[in-house]
């Protein structure tokens, strides 16, 4: 599994993840409010120009985003039928420029930089008992769990097929889930045994 980041050395790549996210938020809000076809067409043109500035291949970007554009196409079509050409153009321009700008940030920001920025943005949530350390631990474990779970699923499915069982049986998810929950329980014990909780509770006492 590869992250969607596309390496490059443009000014957009060099800008900090936090700055890009903040600008995206402002641009997104502006696009959502705007309702003039020429202005939105200009916004789309700016988005496309930024892709060229970032040295990204537009064709590769379109290919990566094809399912999203198909959904947009569906709603443009529905708008054209129910509300006329102008409304359809507005929908198409709004959604396309929004998706292109948001994806530009994803394509030009490293996964690690983005998670750092998003964790920093979630700092106000620390009051809810979500310390950045625990968020970091959760993030790392979730990424590590993905291939483990894939393997579990494939093993169970291969065993079923070898026994001549129906391939649909795996849709009874219960047994697979209990096996996975047991694995998670052992992992939690391992994390506790290595003293992670101790650090967390000392931190709580300090507060």
């Amino acid at each position: 599994m590869l992250a969607l980041y596309v390496p490059g050395n443009s000014a957009i790549h060099a800008a900090s993840a936090g700055l890009k996210l903040a600008l995206l938020l402002i641009a997104g809000a502006a696009i959502a409010i705007l309702s003039s076809v020429p202005v939105l067409a200009a916004a789309l043109a700016v988005a496309l120009a930024l892709y060229i500035l970032a040295g990204l291949s537009l064709r590769a970007a379109l290919r990566a985003l094809m399912p999203v554009f198909l959904t947009i196409g569906l709603f443009v079509l529905l708008q054209a039928i129910f509300a006329g050409a102008n409304a359809a153009a507005l929908t198409g321009l709004k959604a396309t420029s929004l998706v292109l700008l948001a994806s530009l940030v994803t394509f030009t920001t490293r996964f690690s930089d983005m998670t750092d920025a998003l964790i920093a943005a979630s700092r106000p949530l620390a009051g809810l008992g979500l310390s950045p350390e625990k968020l970091g631990l959760a993030l790392a474990m979730a990424i590590r769990f993905i291939p483990v779970l894939m393997k579990d699923y494939q093993d169970v499915q291969a065993a079923r097929l070898a026994r001549g069982a129906s391939p649909w049986g795996v849709l009874a998810l219960g047994p697979l889930l209990v096996k996975t929950l047991c694995m998670a329980n052992e992992l939690a014990e391992a994390v506790l045994a290595r003293g992670f909780e101790e650090r967390g509770s000392r931190e709580r006492r300090g507060k």
């Binding site: 959502a32 709004k94 996964f111 625990k134 959760a138 849709l171 219960g174 998670a184």
Partner: protein
């Protein structure tokens, strides 16, 4: 949140990703593949309860936002969250919370039928309300048009609610994690 809770939250965020990566299963007469990730949101709510379920979905959305292609069909990134169906993705967290809260409320004497009703309410009615609102805002489409475009997914999502309710009841019997602390399980 205890370390055990953090591990469970990470686990269900990963289950979401695996549901997106797993090969699609076509179910005969229903036009939509069954692998969609709503199943993961329903499972998280039914098995972990409101807070941990919603946290698992939030963590998954963090992975998506950070640029991992973990949504069904290898999608990911901020572009998908900002796309017309972004409301449904954010809605997963709310759906898991609602399903979890109701599951906790009706935990004693929970039956398959009750859990199915809970999953249909939280995972379809609540989720679609948020998703349709999202389409309307992000694509500038009237609510009615947004609702029309979403209805083709309802049959497949009912199948997911059935699977989630069955799995939820199985886990409740074998490895309950709501109201039981989940500390003294033998594996």
């Amino acid at each position: 949140m205890s370390v055990r809770d953090v591990v469970l939250v990470a686990l269900f965020a990963a289950i979401m990703a695996v549901l997106g990566l797993a090969p699609k299963i076509e179910v005969g007469f229903i036009p939509v593949p069954i692998t969609a990730q709503l199943l993961g949101a329903m499972l998280a709510g039914s098995i972990l309860g409101a807070l941990r379920g919603a946290a698992a979905m939030a963590l998954f959305l963090l992975l998506v936002a950070a640029g991992l292609p973990v949504l069904a069909g290898g999608r990911g990134g901020l572009g998908v969250l900002a796309g017309p169906s972004g409301g449904f993705l954010v809605g997963y967290a709310v759906a898991a919370f609602v399903i979890g809260a109701l599951t906790e409320r009706f935990w004693r004497g929970l039956t398959f039928t009750k859990l199915l009703a809970i999953n249909i309410f939280g995972g379809i009615i609540v989720l679609y309300a948020i998703g349709i609102l999202g389409i309307s805002l992000l694509a500038g489409v009237p609510l009615k048009t947004a609702a029309y475009g979403s209805m083709i997914f309802v049959p497949g999502d009912i199948v997911k609610a059935v699977l989630a309710a069955a799995a939820g009841m199985f886990v409740k019997r074998g490895y309950p994690l709501i109201h039981d602390g989940g500390d003294e399980h033998q594996c």
